[in-house]
Amino acid sequence: MNNKKRVRHMHPIYLSSKLKISAFLLVLPLVREILIRPDGIIGIIAAAGLNTLYSAAVISWTIISYRRFFWRSARDGIRISSGLLRRKWYTVPYDRMRCITFRKGPLSRLLGAVWVSFDTAGKLPFRTDISICLDRRGARSVLGHFSGSKCRAVKYSAKRIMLTALLGSNPFSGLLLIVPAVYETGRIFGISPYGLIGLADSFPLIAADYLSPTARIAAKLMIAGWTASAAIAFFRYFGHRVTGNGASIVARRGLLTKIITVTDRTGISALSFDSTLTTALSGLSSVSIFSVGSGKLRGDRRMLLPLDRRSSGMRNAEMLTGLDLSEEIRADVSPRAVLSYTLAPLLSALMSTSVVLASSLLTGMSFYTTGLLLTIPFAWWCIFRIYACRSSFFATGKDCAVLCSCSGLTLRQLHIPYPAITGITVSQSIFQKRRGLCSISVSVFSEKRESFMIKGLLLREAEPIVSEILKNSTANNKKGNTI
């Protein structure tokens, strides 16, 4: 820290993120005492006294730590100095930053603050290298290091975002979000969980008369979860805009919380065209990005382009990344591998059917309800796996190796640039050996040592593709096009 004038503290809103727990600890027992035992004044004082002491200690520690945190944007990188007892200081060079995320929530926007996270390929599992809260001026100066001349922007309309939210939402994640909130609210108002189920059942549903009571409640809960999930996704993806800024890709999105993700173009490990069964049958897919440094980004934070027609998604991705995504030599998954693809859903269906049938016999639950609740998810899984088997392939291209396979209930078409490939493993099980099939795993350059797998390829078709990829990969590395 040579130049003291330039050294800055973080925005004071940073304190609020650290003080959330202590404030909660201070407030919650007080509220509980006041609500449950309004006459227990001694209890209120005791709860307040003990928690005030603890909270005071946490607050003073946070303020001192905040005062001891300094940062400055130097010519070569971000310099950080932090810590009270254990002092530490370091410089993260701009050249090493692969993924930068700017996040502005409603409160931070009001107070002029921006949360910024910097990621490098450095191994700090499950957390970003630097996560700081800056004022607008500081964030602008940091963003200035990554903005070159704008080439082209891809903007998505609200209609398209709505479609993405509706088709890409998962009812279970929605339920996970709403159930605790509804349950806690119900507890506050003195409604039992059974009362809440009754409340859910009172909502109208077409074809409800044809369902048994249990199936009807399950269907209604699923619809509620799906609606909640879609609403959240709509707010999250609203105003999605992607710009190719010279050496980096800048994606902006969000209605309440605005998120800007800057990804280094040279650090792209793979481009993934994701589609579920419904979106695949509609000819739509979304594009997400795997890049060195963005491994710490989870879930939809990786998304580059929302749901769009496959051809236009491909065109936009090519334009933004500068990669040629066409295929040259291609090997499809053999139809003989259908069994290996559908084995997992079939076995799971068999096992759970036997367990639930036994329990229905014991508990007296109707056979129709049990069948309905079980058949739909497993049939969906099985159909998806058959579709995945028919659509999966392995190919070479001009700039990338292409690997299309399923991961969970998503079909992923991965375009992996040759410089990002660190290894290819060809393996054969005893059953595959007999049929002349093989599985191929492609490892990519990433801080999490990520690898993508495809199974059920014919060995004689896969071998020339593997050798072609290795040849291209070696040629790229000799040219110095490594990440």
């Binding site: 810590g83 254990r86 370091y90 060079p93 050249d95 390929a121 700090l124 060195v292």
Partner: protein
């Protein structure tokens, strides 16, 4: 090449380790006195075990551990050797280094030492017991690998 190697691990690091084990021993003694009041037998056992561990750490483990440590800056990489039972020889190539974190505890500050964490793509290495100027030297060397144009300055 081997003769040019200069071990950057400071001799003071051994003292820091011994002081740390002394502090741990004092803490465990305090805990043992507290336990003694509840159950004298368990308290005595805690005192004996902590004393044995203290002697083993201070007089056997720390000298061996310290002797096993080596850190050198080579022209194109950093060489690290450590481990008593399971020896580790690590070569960290400069181009693979993402950045370095220098940290100092109060005890290290008294002795003028620091800990250097080298973050590479896919791995990280922690080197304790370096003098501050040596840690800065490694930091600068890794920076020169990131920004080759600074090499001649």
């Amino acid at each position: 090449m081997e003769k040019l190697r200069e071990n950057l691990i400071s001799d003071k690091y051994s003292c820091v380790r011994k002081l740390r084990s002394c502090a741990t021993f004092v803490l465990s003694l305090a805990a043992a006195i507290f336990i003694w009041r509840l159950s004298p037998g368990v308290g005595a056992a805690v005192i004996i075990i902590s004393a044995m561990l203290f002697i083993a750490d201070c007089f056997f483990l720390t000298p061996f551990w310290f002797r096993s440590l080596e850190c050198c800056i080579m022209p194109d990489h950093i060489f690290v050797r450590k481990g008593v039972w399971r020896k580790k020889y690590i070569r960290i190539l400069f181009p693979g280094i993402q950045y370095c974190i220098v940290s100092r505890t109060p005890l290290q500050r008294i002795y003028g030492l620091c800990t250097l964490t080298i973050l590479c793509a896919g791995a990280s290495e922690r080197i304790a017991g370096l003098e501050l100027r040596d840690a800065e030297k490694i930091s600068i060397a890794s920076n020169q690998a990131i920004f080759p144009e600074r090499r001649n300055r």
